[in-house]
């Protein structure tokens, strides 16, 4: 019996690989296991090699591990490409029709499990694409789990397609399950320990978590041009538009997207855009306008490998310095970076409140790893009460009737002036792209310019009240201090556990609130004489640069990964030792 299994399925794009990963996750999450799934695929719809890795464990964990315990090959290429990743004693499930394998094809000792995927599909009168369903059934048997766990997921997955489709899929999965049971006969080395289910768990990616956060925060409008890796958010919002009273608009480009979203926000509704680096490059002009007219806006920037079109379906943390510096001219903004799906949800809610409170653009910096991985989240993490703070958005009845309302009132001490919405009686103003006076009329006067720019800059001080220090994980007295932001957190936390097992103590100083940079807190946490190691998924060490800029602290040691692949705990451990 084992406590954690890492399962990998590979095959040609179009084989239903992604769906298989999600179904396996759901089956085990429903049973109370902790799960996590990552995917890897080229920027193609058909052909090319697709891959999903699922880790299933009896206890909560934070990241994928590098070694594979079960490899499911829907074609021969999958074994060729991934046999180096197999752990000692791994199971390799393959279809003999794709070619035979024997033990000395592998550098480690593996158990070959031949399952006639194609034949079993044919016997069940299924489509060739249903090989993945046979493989899922076989997997459940290899893990020693109850077939019903999978059957319930299949029923839900295909319910809309009718009873016939449901029973056919269940029968085909069962054929795979039975085949393993009959041919192996005995317990495999990958039987999972049983768990007690504590509460309902969600299987959700971070884009969907951003969507749920948005809906709970009162999001009403989103204009999002399709782009990997934020497409799941589009699907989420478009599918739920009717149910939750949301308008999702597909704009002609990202320039239109951000201008539509700003228009809707000016019109009084909570509004957002989402994109990746290239799309955000087009939004930069609009961001600057948003800063000038002091309108709330939430921007979900899902990072992927750049520059340019880069490697569109692979992950990176390359836009931290970009979002901090984007936009012509100077204006305040907030940058948040979730580490997992729970934070993607909670920081999205925070982003809407902060945007309204300070009347500024707020970034949620996600990435491909967050947005397309399946995370396991206790339902209660997403169902707590949500506070909605719309800041100084006025009610029509609060407006003075003598026409004295000033949208950009300079007398406010914190730089945040009351905000009216077009159509309100007595709330007249201009949202002016030019420098402007308190009503919004254009001005090029020296003192008015300085006053209005000063009003915007005052918000930095106000924002500091809400600013959050980095979070510290692990032993405060540890000899090693890792420094990270965003989605690197999970692999580092796993690495700390591995190091601990080797008798090495390490801690993590992790930034979810990136900008305005919490310099004082960072200074205190990073100036002690421990060994600092900056870990980021970019080539420049962008957080380390930010830390140096604001604290003077130079982090000499860095683990910088920019090959587009997820960060693995094992490679962090190797770097340290």
């Amino acid at each position: 019996m084992v406590q954690s299994v890492t399962w990998k399925i590979g095959g040609e794009a179009g084989f239903g690989i992604m769906a298989s990963g999600t179904m396996l996750c759901r089956a085990f999450s429903r049973a109370g296991y902790h799960i996590f799934a990552t995917n890897e695929y080229p920027s193609l719809i058909r052909g090319g090699h697709n891959l999903v890795t699922v880790r299933i464990a009896t206890e909560k964990f934070e990241a994928m591990n590098r070694d594979v315990h079960i490899l499911v090959a829907l074609n021969k290429e999958t074994v060729d490409l991934h046999k180096q990743e197999l752990s000692e004693g791994a199971l390799v499930l393959y279809d003999p029709k794709d070619g035979e394998w024997n033990a000395n094809d592998f550098s480690k000792k593996v158990v070959l499990v031949a399952v006639p995927l194609k034949d079993l599909v044919q016997q069940g009168r299924g489509e060739p694409v249903m090989r993945n369903t046979v493989a899922l059934g076989a997997t459940v048997a290899l893990l020693g789990a109850d077939f019903e766990a999978l059957a319930s997921v299949i029923r839900d997955q295909f319910r809309k397609k009718g009873d016939e489709v449901v029973s056919q899929n269940i029968a085909i999965a069962k054929a795979g399950y039975d085949h393993v049971k009959q041919t192996l006969g005995t317990e495999t080395s990958m039987y999972l320990d049983e768990v007690q289910k504590k509460e309902d768990q969600l299987v959700i990616n971070a884009s969907e978590a951003v969507g749920v956060g948005g809906v709970r925060a009162g999001l009403k409008f989103a204009a999002i041009y399709p782009m990997t890796p934020i497409n799941a958010l589009i699907t989420y919002l478009a599918d739920h538009a009717k149910q939750f009273g949301i308008v999702y608009k597909q704009p002609e480009d990202e320039i239109a997207g951000i201008n539509m979203a700003i228009g809707a926000s000016l019109g009084g509704v909570r509004s957002m855009v989402a994109t990746s680096g290239g799309g955000f490059a087009l939004m930069v002009e609009g961001l600057s306008w948003c800063g000038m007219i002091e309108v709330p806006l939430v921007i979900d920037l899902g990072m992927r490998v750049g520059p340019s079109t880069g490697m569109p379906t692979y992950t990176e943390q390359g836009e931290l310095q970009f979002v901090i510096h984007a936009g012509h001219g100077e204006f305040p903004r907030i940058v948040l970076a979730p580490a997992d799906a729970v934070e993607a949800y909670s920081l999205t809610i925070d982003a809407f409140n902060l945007a309204d409170r300070y009347q500024i653009p707020v970034f949620v910096l996600t990435d491909k790893y967050l947005n397309e991985s399946q995370w396991c989240v206790p339902k209660s993490s997403f169902s707590g009460d949500v506070v909605i703070d719309r800041g100084k958005l006025v009610k029509e009845s609060d407006l003075p009737t003598d026409g004295s309302f000033k949208r950009y009132d300079l007398s406010v001490p914190d730089g945040i002036s009351p905000r009216s919405v077009p159509g309100m009686k007595n709330g007249f103003f201009y949202a002016n792209s030019y420098e402007h006076d308190e009503v919004g009329h254009v001005t090029e006067d020296v003192s008015k310019r300085i006053a209005m720019a000063g009003k915007r800059f005052k918000k930095f001080e106000a924002i500091a009240r809400d600013g959050r220090p980095p979070t510290v994980f692990g032993d405060p007295e540890a000899e090693i201090t890792f420094v990270s932001w965003g989605s690197s957190r999970g692999p580092i936390l796993e690495a700390i556990k591995l190091l601990q097992a080797k008798g090495k103590s390490a801690r993590l100083v992790h930034f979810s609130w990136i900008y305005p940079f919490p310099a004082n807190a960072a200074n205190k946490l990073l100036s002690a004489g421990t060994r600092l190691i900056d870990i980021e998924q970019n080539a420049m060490g962008q957080l380390a640069l930010l830390i140096r800029e604001h604290t003077g602290i130079f982090i000499r040691e860095k683990l910088l990964k920019y090959d587009g692949r997820p960060l693995y705990p094992e490679e962090i451990v190797e770097r340290v030792s």
């Binding site: 009273g245 239109a256 539509m260 009329h441």
Partner: protein
């Protein structure tokens, strides 16, 4: 009931346009049209582009958005979707709306939002001191085309028609009463209404003067033209030279962008509650 007049829109700012600029005529007609329709300071929102036309907001006391150059239409669509009861009007220019904002123009037209667009069309970029605009006719000499414009001009009316605008008209800044009537009809039209307004640039264009236009323009309605046929309208949109038609070329009723949003069926987004009731349904999808 309505005490709204052209003076309602008065601010402490005076126009900075060149004396004789076509913008004056458009401005007068616009104020008259709003007053006659009972749209006062707090009753609508006007989105202005960047260019000579765009400076109009400073002397228009009505909720105003001075957008970025070329970006009027996306902003206007966002505003309209946030509150579709609010009249949303766009004041744009030929450079702003058809150059920098050309892509937005086509895509706004195909969605048919209930937005009215007035294009100040004078063939030049006045604010940057006289370069050729996208509508500049071939041979026209400007600061950026000393040997004369070589490109074909964009035809705003033909473009609006093919892209799907449901109200397409041409006005002339030198005909304030006619322009007022046209503007009123455009604002009252439910759908994407485009009025291309011919205006002389008295500073940077010595060719297309008021007399040049007056010798050529004629009113479609005086010919018994009915604006109900897209192909006929296309033909009229291409008439240019000795005779230049003014008036409504095309008009049709179609569902608007807002009509097609289920979320807007009952009331505007801005009036809807921020909290949701069916939280369990929302989360159980992911179990």
């Amino acid at each position: 009931m309505s005490s709204i007049t052209a003076d309602t829109f008065k601010t402490s700012f005076l126009p900075t346009w060149c004396p004789g600029c076509g913008d004056f005529g458009i401005w007068m007609s616009f104020k008259d049209a709003l007053a006659k329709l009972g749209i006062g300071t707090d009753d609508g929102v006007v989105v202005y582009g960047v260019g000579c036309h765009g400076n109009m907001y400073d002397w228009m006391k009505i909720y105003g958005v001075a957008a970025l150059h070329g970006r009027t239409l996306p902003v206007a669509q966002g505003l309209k979707l946030a509150n579709h009861k609010l009249p949303v009007i766009v004041i744009s220019g030929d450079g702003d709306g058809l150059g920098e904002g050309g892509n937005h123009f086509m895509h706004a037209a195909k969605r048919n939002p209930d937005i009215t667009v007035f294009i100040h069309d004078n063939q030049v970029y006045g604010l940057t001191t006289g370069q050729a605009s996208p509508t500049a006719k071939q041979g026209f000499k400007t600061k950026s085309t000393p040997e004369g414009v070589v490109d074909e001009p964009i035809n705003p009316l033909a473009l609006a028609l093919t892209a799907g605008a449901t109200f397409v008209a041409r006005g002339f800044a030198g005909d304030p009463p006619g322009l007022t009537a046209l503007m009123m009809a455009a604002i009252e039209h439910k759908g994407f209404a485009v009025v291309d307004i011919l205006q002389p640039c008295v500073t940077f264009d010595r060719v297309h003067t008021y007399p040049w236009y007056r010798q050529r323009v004629y009113k479609l309605e005086s010919e018994g033209y009915t604006p109900d046929n897209k192909l006929k309208a296309m033909e009229k949109s291409m008439e240019w030279g000795d005779k230049i038609p003014l008036g409504i070329l095309y008009k049709e009723e179609k569902p608007t962008s807002e009509d097609r949003e289920p979320a807007l069926a009952e009331k505007p987004l801005v009036e809807q509650p921020l909290t949701i009731e069916n939280l369990n349904d929302l989360l159980n999808e992911y179990i």
